[in-house]
Amino acid sequence: MKMNESQKVKIKARNVTVHYGEARALHGIDLDLNANEVTALIGPSGCGKSTFLRCINRMNDVIDGCRVGGSVSIDEQNIYSDAVDVVELRARVGMVFQKPNPFPKSIYDNVAYGPRIHGMAPSRSELDHMVEVSLKRAGLWDEVKDRLSASGTSLSGGQQQRLCIARAIAVSPDIVLMDEPCSALDPIATAVIEELMEELRRDYTIVIVTHSMQQAARISQRTAYFHLGDLVEHGQTQAIFTNPENKQTEAYISGKIG
């Protein structure tokens, strides 16, 4: 694979540890994630991949008794330093969750919420524009343009998840984190979202947690395999899937464990 500009390191994690109370969930993770790539985090349940993902936008902060050690840098700035405001950070690092979780508000308000609270749209017409662009990018515009005032929860599961993606990208983040975004969706909706990720990769850095090996293989450029709180192996997706260095990785990928 040729080295090009797009392989600039966006997120740099160094010796990241996470404790939930006394239990240690991550044992010192070192991982670089490249800009404009999709990085898939795979591994059996409870391996710490979601925990790691939530370190990147400090969503672990809201969990009682959760402590994060080490450093995570985005564009060379440690997001765990006191100088970083967590609210601004989360505007730069969007997140899409496992279960579609639109607000019980209208489709329009769902997408407009982020720009509104960050004061990004001074006028109604600019806000309208932002909503339209975000929905178009999420591939939802044509399906909902006539019923923007309908409730976000009235959409189908796949549409809801794309609405959540539109909501996340409406605040123009650099990075989009996705925590098993397709696990609650049928294969057709999954395919739509996977196409979308390929599309979004041009503008965003995407980190995705997935339980589906095929999905990781299809959509990601890089893959990191976690096991029991350790990063076992990471590298080019092709390399990991065709020629894993580690026995554990091979066993997991080939379906022998997990």
């Binding site: 009682d64 899409v96 919420y113």
Partner: protein, 421 residues
């Protein structure tokens, strides 16, 4: 050994299971029907015994508003009672003795002059003319006319004497007696005379008290619940506070009355018998009953909504104000209104601060002397006059109606704010 594949055995099992399900259903139905019948019996007996209170017998008198009794320039100082009595006397020219006259006057209510007074004050030009006006009869005569006092009993066994009966019968013969709707029940304050006693004073007292309760306990309760549920760290101190709040909800209400007496009246010297103090006491009592359901409403909001808001960069306050609070609102309102409904029916804490009192005036502010509906009902129940029996039931009907309105409001607001996801 049982053969589970035996069709007979399985058919028997199936039959048994169906029967068990049928029985279970029947028990449930029986429970509901029993509860329903008890409720119907209770309500119908209260409503039935309250019916006499909603009407009252009046007598039509031709009243000469003579200047002997009411001066043209000072109608407010007129002797209206004398006026009414004179009019009554005119119908019974044969009554001359002092005693007989006094007996005659007694068939009228003490409040009979009020109607005339109101009429004349409203239109002073009536002075010097004759008007025909319905004035209320006394409570005993009214009961007798309603058939609640048996006139066939020997005279010694009934309140209404033969002489009174003769007076009333004569008026009835002249078609002067009519049963009318008892507006006094809804417009008057309390009175020693049953036919003049109204629920308005107690109703106003209850509403003022509840207003104070709502204003104090709703913001305090909701803010306390938000802080405990959403902001406060989960540690030993918050756990202690939580346990105490749960215990406070179970404290007997009279204890709050004692506290109110000691703190609000003896220490802060707030007025006794006032809705202000009553409202504060009931607010203390209602606080845990608002905090607990409010916290439950917050806890019931799915964490995914919070995560979604945090994920797009909402601050903690924004998450609460934009998402959690609006979604929890139906639960909060339901809890608040049920807490208020409980407070509306509370008597014990108000005993201690002097709201169980005979108060004639309808309160118009929170520092005026007042009583509340349940206290009024209790006081009427204790009065010896028979006509208060119906009044007591009527008071209960009014209290139940108030609670019904409050609960209907709860349902309305819950529907209104409810959002599905």
């Amino acid at each position: 050994m049982t053969d589970y594949s035996d069709p007979d055995f399985r058919a028997a099992r199936l039959k048994k299971r169906y029967q068990a399900e049928k029985r279970f259903r029947a028990y449930g139905m029986a429970a509901i029907i029993t509860a329903g019948l008890i409720l119907v019996f209770l309500l119908s007996s209260i409503i039935y015994s309250s019916l006499p209170a909603f009407s009252h017998h009046h007598v039509r008198l031709d009243i000469n508003i003579s200047e002997d009794y009411v001066a043209t320039d000072t109608p407010e100082e007129g002797n209206y009672l004398g006026l009414v009595r004179a009019a009554l006397r005119d119908h019974f020219p044969q009554v001359t003795g002092r005693r007989d006259k006094r007996a005659l006057y007694k068939i009228l209510s003490i409040g009979a002059s009020d109607a005339v007074e109101a009429r004349v004050k409203n239109d002073p030009r009536l002075i010097g003319t004759q008007i025909s006006l319905y004035v209320p009869l006394s409570d005993d005569i009214d009961l007798m006319l309603k058939g609640l006092i048996d006139r066939n009993l020997p005279e010694s066994d009934r309140i209404v004497s033969d002489r009174d009966l003769a007076f009333v019968d004569k008026l009835a013969e002249e078609n002067r007696i009519e049963r009318k709707f008892a507006f006094a029940l809804f417009t008057n304050g309390d009175s020693r005379e049953p036919e003049m006693a109204g629920i308005n004073g107690a109703l106003a007292g209850s509403l003022w008290t509840l207003l104070v309760t709502l204003i104090v306990s709703f913001p305090l309760g909701v803010l306390a619940a938000i802080y405990l549920e959403e902001v406060a760290p989960k540690n030993r101190y918050t756990a202690l506070i939580e346990v105490n709040i749960n215990n406070l909800a179970a404290v007997p209400s009279i204890v709050y009355g004692l506290l109110g007496l000691a703190v609000f009246i003896n220490f802060f010297h707030l007025p006794r018998s006032a809705p202000l103090v009553g409202g504060l006491v009931l607010a203390l009592m209602t606080l845990p009953r608002i905090i607990i359901p409010t916290r439950a409403a917050f806890a019931a909001i799915p964490p995914s909504i919070r995560e979604a808001a945090l994920g797009v960069g909402a601050s903690r306050t924004q998450v609460i104000m934009h998402h959690v609070l609006p979604l929890a609102m139906p639960g909060i309102l339901t809890g608040t209104i049920i807490g208020l409904a409980q407070a509306a029916g509370e008597t014990a804490p108000l005993l201690m601060i002097g709201m169980m009192a005979f108060i004639v005036d309808v309160p118009t502010e929170v520092t005026a002397k007042a009583t509340v509906l349940p206290a009024q009902i209790y006081m009427w129940a204790n009065n010896p006059e028979r006509a208060f029996v119906a009044r007591t039931s009527a008071g209960i009907v009014v209290l139940l109606t108030l609670l019904l309105v409050v609960n209907a409001a709860a349902i309305y607001f819950r529907r209104r704010f409810e959002k599905r996801w």
